[in-house]
Structure formats: C-alpha cells, structure tokens
Symmetry: C2
Subunit: 491 residues, 2 copies
C-alpha cells in the first residue's frame, strides 16, 4: 500500500475581516436586540426572518462601493449552469424581494422588523468587519410621509430604550427630492449626468470626514488624500458647486427657517419644492407629537450613501465625544439611518410600491455604550463545585442539581481534578462568585466549605499572608442548608 | 445616445431549498432559543457566536454526504489566488477552530453554547431546508464521561423546559468505542477497511427508516430502494453481519442487562470493553442524579452519522406519534444529538483535546410542538387607529403615542385611508383585537368609537344582518378615558 501523504495542519484562524463574539459580547447584543424589537413591536411591526442567501439577481446592485469586484457581496455559483447566489448585504433588498413574492398574502401596508447578520465583501479595517448585525423596521405600501415621520419617532424612542439618554443623540432628517431639485438647479438632472450625480451624492455624504474644502474639491476636479491617492471629482464649475454647497449649508437655527431657506434654493425645481413640502409635513407631525429639535431636526447635509432612496432620508447620530485609538476626542457619529425607497419593489413587479424604513447598526451602538462605560465586558460566572474526590462525582453532580433547581447557575469542575489550584484558577477565569469544597472529611461531618471568591480576591489584594491564611472568605455550611445559604450569599 | 437595452425583471423568489419566516414563526423560535439558552446558562455554559463564514480548510470534511460536489457546503473563492471560504455547516467544527485559536485565553474546560443558522448544500426536500437553526452546548477539555452524562441530563431538562413533557421524549445513549469493538470482532478494524466501516455506520444509522432487513442488505451486497436506486453494501459475510446485527439488537429491558449483553459481544476487543465500561459509568451517574430510564436509556442502535465521534454518542427522540402529510401516524423521531469528539481540535493543534457536546435541531423541535398543537401560528396584532380624516393624522399619531406609552401595541393605519372597509380588512389581516374610530363628529364631542374586532368576528359568524347592524361590538368611549378603557378591554 502506498504511504498516505501527511496533510499539513489547518490554520485555526477566522477568515480576514470576520470575528468571533464571546460571552457578554453575545448576551449584551442579544439584550439590545430584545430591547429594540420590543419598541418595534409596540409600534405594530411584525417579525420577518428572510433567508440569509439570496439570488444575486434578486439582491440587485445597490451598494455604494460599485467599483470593486463582486460588487461588495459574497457570491458563488454551484456549477457553471446554476444561478449565482449571494449572502445578503443588508435587510432592505431581501424585504423588497419578500414583499414582491408574498404581496397577495401580506397585509398592506406591510410593517415588518428584522434583525440579523449581513455580509459585505469590503476591505476590512479597524472596527470594520465583513459580518455585522443590523436591526431594521420598514413600512411597505404607505406613500404618506406620516410613515417616515413615525419611523423617525420610533428611532428616537429606540435609542432611549437601549440606554442613550435624550441629548446624547439627534435624529436628522432630509429629503432626496430636495437634493434632486438642487441637482436640477445646478444643471445636473439629465440621464447623461448620472455619474456626476453619484459623485456629488458621495461627496456630500463625506462632509463629516472631509470638511467643506474636501467636499468642494470633489465637486470640482477631484481630491488628493493624505496618502497621495486621487479621487476623481464631478467636474462641476464654480457656479454649480456653489448651488450644491449652498444646499449643504442651508441648516438654520430652527426647522422652519431651514425649510424656508431650502424653498428659496430649489424654487425653480418642481421636484425640489415637493421635497421641501414633505419636509415641512414631517416637521409638523413631529412637533404635534412632541418630538422637538432636541430629538429630531431638519438637516440638509444628510444624504445617505445608498442609491435607492427617493424621498425622506434620516439618520441618527450620537452627539457625545469618545476617545479614538490615539486618545483624541471625536464625535461617535452615525448609528442608524434610512429613508424612503419607492422603486425597490418595482424592480420585481413593475408597479411602484412606496416603502420607507430604518436600519440600526447594532454593533456600533453597542460600541458606543461600551465607550461611554455603560456596559461591562464581564458576566458573573457559575458557582463552581470543586472535585476533591473523583469517586464522589455523582454526589457533586447532585449538589449542582439542587442549586440549578433553585435557579442558581452552577457546575461541577470537569477538568482533571488532580491539582486543586487549577480548579480555583478555573473558577477565577470564569468569574465565579463562589466555590464549594467537600472532601471526605466534610462529607462525614455533613458540611461543605463555601469560598467567597469575590471577597477572596479583594482580600488577596490588600491582606498580608497571615490574614490570607486565616481565610475570612471561607465558611463552613451545613450540607442541608447549602442551597439556602448560597441563595442568600448571591443575594 | 444609444438606446439602453431594457433588462428583464428579476424573479422574486427565495433560492431553492431556502425559505423565509414570518411573524409567529420568528418570535416562537426566538422564545424557544431563549428557553434553551436559559437552561444552558444555568448549567454554566457561556455564549459564543462564531463567524458564519469559515475557511474551507478550517471547516474540514465531516459531513456524512461526502460524495456530492462541494461536499455539502456552500463555498466560494474571491479570486483564483484567494483561499476558499464557506458557510458553516454546523456549530461544532467552528467551535474546534475557536478553541484551537484562543486556547491560551479560554478557561479549560471551555463550556460554551451557541445558536444560529447553519447551511448545508444538500438536496432540499419537504421540510428539509438548506438553512436551519441549531442550538449547541459543548464542553471542551474534559475527558471524564461525567461531562457526557451531564450533557444528557441537560438535554433532558432542556426538552422539558421547551414544553415536551416527560414521557414524550427519550434520550438514548451509546458509545462509539463499543461499536469499534464490534467492528474489531467482525474483522473490520484495519486501515484498509475504512470504507466498509463507513457503510456499516450509515446502515446502522438508518435502522429506523429501513428496518432490520434493509440494514442487513446494506451490510451485505447492497440494497435496491423502491425507486430502483441501488446502494452498494459493505460486503460483509453472514457471520460478520450477524455480529453487527447482534450489536444493534443488544438492547434489553434494563440498562444493566443491556450493558451485560454488550460486554459479552465485545469481550474479545479491548476498546469495546473500554466503551462498555464508559456506558456503565454514565448509567451510574444518571441513576445517582435521578435520571431514570423514563428519561435516559442505553441503546446500542444509536450511532449518529457524523464521522468524528470517538466515545459516547447520544440522541433525543420524541416518542409521540404525529400524522404525516398523508394522515398516517408516525413517530416524530430525533430532535437532538451529539457525542464525544476527541480529535477535532487535534486537527489544528496536534494535541488531543477531549470534547463532547449536543446539538438541538430547533426547527424540528418547533415543528414537533406545532404538530402536537402546543403552538398557534398566530400572534395578537396591534390596536389599529383608523384614519377618518387625513388632516387629523398628527392627532391620530398622538393617540397611538399615548397607547404605546401605556405599553399597548398600537399603530395608525398608514395605507390609503379613502376606503374605510380596507382599513378594517387590514385590521383583520393583522389579527388586531381593537380598532379605534374618530371622525370630526366624535372629535367635536370629545369621544372615540372602539370596535371589538374579536367579538365582532364572533357575532358576524352567528348574527343576523339586523343584529350585526346593531353593532354590539362597538362602543363609544370618552377620549380622556381611552387608554384606561383599552387597557381594561385587552386585560
């Protein structure tokens, strides 16, 4: 028999741009998703979990980053004749497919929420992963901007529900129709100007990062960044660029003033005026429901990168400062956004179906709460029953059985029990509050030792060796009273 | 300008073998995952959410269905030089990778639970999808069979926690070492007999479906199924097949008797005897903790399809009958399974790391509860505030605002309000308990109409037209008392 060639060992690594989440990272995200979905449900939205895999044809091409190979998605083909499949890159494109597929069975309007991972085939960077969570709510089949206003109100309620206090966030609202009006006024409205409009859109979206000079450069000939990379501009002349810059800087002290300024800017454009009118209606609805400018404002600099928006667009920004990797203060920035996309369902059905919705970047929101120190990374571990005597395993298991029956998280140490120190080290690594010790001596006397590991750690920090040996953190408890005592200790 | 060729509309379909989940299907699964993870946590397991995407190299080849192209996974390569990536096909292979990658930081034993979708590139069938949920718990780094026994006990507790009463399920335990012993006795232990062992394993795993005659055929020359397809057998002679069949039929009335019979069968094999010894220890531990044969039994016919098991294997089966598509009664079958796999981490590190764990097929378990009528497919919808007067939208929004503030699920109808009948049809489709109606007349008088849609539907079924017109299901409520009244009505 031929000698079998030994295969090299596989590398134990996550693929580039992917990561794993441990313990509290998982349970805290789950808790946040629970809080968000509770608000969404209160607003009448129903759950939907669509398939993570879609046909590439159904997903469409809506990611801003269209220049890259695979166009931003992870896609594959089973064999040469088979259709291309891909992982969803957001939760909106699948919703459009679901609504088109089931529209005869679904209520109209269809109000659904969805949460789960999405995948982007993009260049990973610090804090930028290729798999991340989104949590969306959308209303399909409602053309009224009341639907948009409602989602802005819900977004505000949701941020407060997950622990961002009023004043630490702002929901900013704009309207793509106003932007289209600006394009018209600037002479950029023809079919042959689509590429230029795209560059203008992306330039405005980068205002936060590049400042007005950077945006202005992108509106004109282009911009060279610090690394020397050159980004081609939209090629607008001074006058055209002035119109766009005027729009971005139209924000005034109050919503009424901002709307008035926008009305001036787009007076010559029918669609622009319609957009201003919609903004006005949203502002009125918000005011009537008590959502003042401390929560929701009209802001012309909001455009949202995605190409499919057709009306109101909105964005939630956290306004507090955090420290970046180098300790410099910076604004935390956007954690959620959305808008109206009246053409996504039409792709499938040929009929226009109005729709609007929001997507919350759950991982970013979690990072924000962590940065503000509102979340610890630790969970309380289980009570550990140590193993002094291997033959008494069944007995130790019955102790944890009793504890669990009383609702107390507990486990027997299942590693090699030979080295007792390792058992306590394990309890420490698990962040266990208590360890239980029962050797044959204790068993005979009908008692167990309970070691308070939290207090023990405190004492270890400050106490002398003599004090430590006195073991004030350890006490003897009657076996029959164990559950009651532990319940009390964990209080 | 050249005329742009019109692209055909994309098809609004889920890819073959995938599906979407709506409303209660999502929330009920979530509730079940919550119940399961609560038990897992009580037993001391920590959450882990690994990346859904792995390198193909790290995933390894452990699916039973090795003959197919792509070997059962969805895989892709970004470009010709890049490494192959794939969607995880279970939660165990990723755990082995995670443990190997982070072993210096993780506690040992590492006890983790995980839940989420997994993907299989397999032929879809009725009720058989290419994306489904698993919910796993594993202990890595514990060689003691106490770890296996604990997982069997936890599996039993978990099934009861999700609503399967004792008596409606059974956890069956076996040991691969016993099976290896049987292979040895049957003369199938050499490296050159690997293919035959694989066929024997898969044949035993199909006992439920094929019966003893079918299995016996597969142990011998092979078997032709009803459709005429022929499956090649292991080519065992009569004597060899007798040994294997004797093992499968070794189950006796009590665990002690079964173990005694197994001991006879594998007496000539060292590894077989070691396996019997482990089974005995597990049986003792279970008995000491009060898990009797009404919950957990030793059963030699359990082998589990996956190739990587090395010791104890276990499986939870629901024992009640359900009706199949054709109305015939059948056993529901397996909903969870697992076992010991001491070599999975070794693939990466070269060092053997003992591990054992269970995987619950959450979607199957949900289907079982539905089949037993223990779950409805409906959720209670929101209270619907109808729109009688478009100009009063802000006012209607303030009504739902008040209701939501009181914790009542509510929404304003956001579709076209012109046809009032459509609004009530919408409320019906949403399964709404109540609709609120406020026209200008009511607004002037400071009242609203509340329509009890549940009662209304009841009356509509039985009442005459006259009675129906009397509208006993509708009542007038003072606007100022609305929230209190609705709270009481939903009470």
């Amino acid at each position: 028999m031929a000698k079998v060639k030994k295969q090299p060992r596989p590398k134990a690594v996550t693929p580039k741009g992917f990561r794993d989440y441990f313990g509290a990272e998982v349970t805290q995200r789950k808790a946040m998703l629970d809080q968000i979905s509770e608000v969404y449900q209160l607003y009448g939205f129903e759950a939907l979990e669509s398939s993570a895999v879609e046909t590439v044809e159904a997903l469409g091409k809506f990611l801003p980053d269209v220049d890259r190979p695979n166009e931003g998605v992870f896609a594959w083909q089973e064999d040469d004749d088979a259709e291309w499949l891909a992982l969803r890159y957001d939760l909106t494109a699948p919703l459009a497919r679901v609504y088109a597929q089931y529209r005869n069975d679904l209520p109209t309007p269809y109000r659904r929420y969805a949460m789960g991972p999405v995948w982007r085939n993009e260049k990973p960077g610090p804090g930028r992963f290729r798999q991340f969570y989104q949590c969306d709510a959308d209303t399909v089949g409602a053309s009224s901007v009341a639907a948009d206003a409602e989602i802005c109100a819900m977004l505000s309620d949701t941020l407060e529900a997950v622990g961002i206090p009023r004043g630490d966030y702002i929901v900013r609202v704009n309207n793509r129709k106003v932007l289209n009006g600006v394009m018209e006024v600037a002479g950029l409205s023809g079919d042959d100007k689509e590429a230029e409009r795209g560059i203008v859109l992306r330039a405005i979206d980068k205002l936060d990062r590049l400042g007005t000079d950077g945006v202005r450069a992108l509106l004109g000939k282009g911009r060279e960044d610090e690394s020397g990379d050159f980004t081609k501009g939209a090629g607008l002349n001074e006058e055209q660029a002035d119109v766009v810059m005027g729009f971005m800087e139209a924000k005034r002290a109050s919503g009424t003033e901002t709307v008035a300024r926008l009305r001036e800017l787009v007076a010559a454009s029918e669609i622009g005026v319609a957009g201003v009118q919609e903004l006005e209606t949203i502002a009125e609805l918000m005011a009537a429901q008590g959502y003042g400018p401390d929560r929701i404002v009209i802001d012309p600099s909001v455009v949202r990168g995605l190409g499919y928006y057709t009306g109101p667009v909105y964005e939630a920004e956290l306004t507090f400062e955090i420290k970046d990797e180098k300790g410099r203060p910076r604004q935390f920035g956007s954690v959620a956004g959305g808008g109206r996309y009246d053409d996504l369902v039409k792709r499938f059905t040929g009929q226009e179906v109005p729709a609007t919705g929001v997507s919350i970047g759950v991982d970013r929101l979690l990072a924000a709460l962590q940065a503000k120190g509102r979340m610890t990374k630790e969970t309380v571990g289980p009570v550990i029953v140590t193993v002094m005597d291997r033959d008494r395993m069944a007995h130790y298991q019955s102790i944890v059985g009793e504890l669990r029956a009383a609702g107390i998280r507990a486990e027997v140490y299942l590693g090699n029990p030979k080295n007792f120190g390792n058992q306590l080290k394990y309890a420490d690594k698990r962040n266990s509050p208590l360890a239980i010790i029962e050797g044959s001596d204790e068993a005979e006397r009908g008692v167990v030792q309970v070691k308070d590991l939290v207090l023990g750690a405190e004492i270890a920090k400050t106490a002398s060796l003599e004090e430590w040996k006195g073991q004030p953190a350890q006490s003897e408890v009657k076996r029959s009273e164990l559950v009651a005592v532990i319940k009390k200790m964990l209080g």
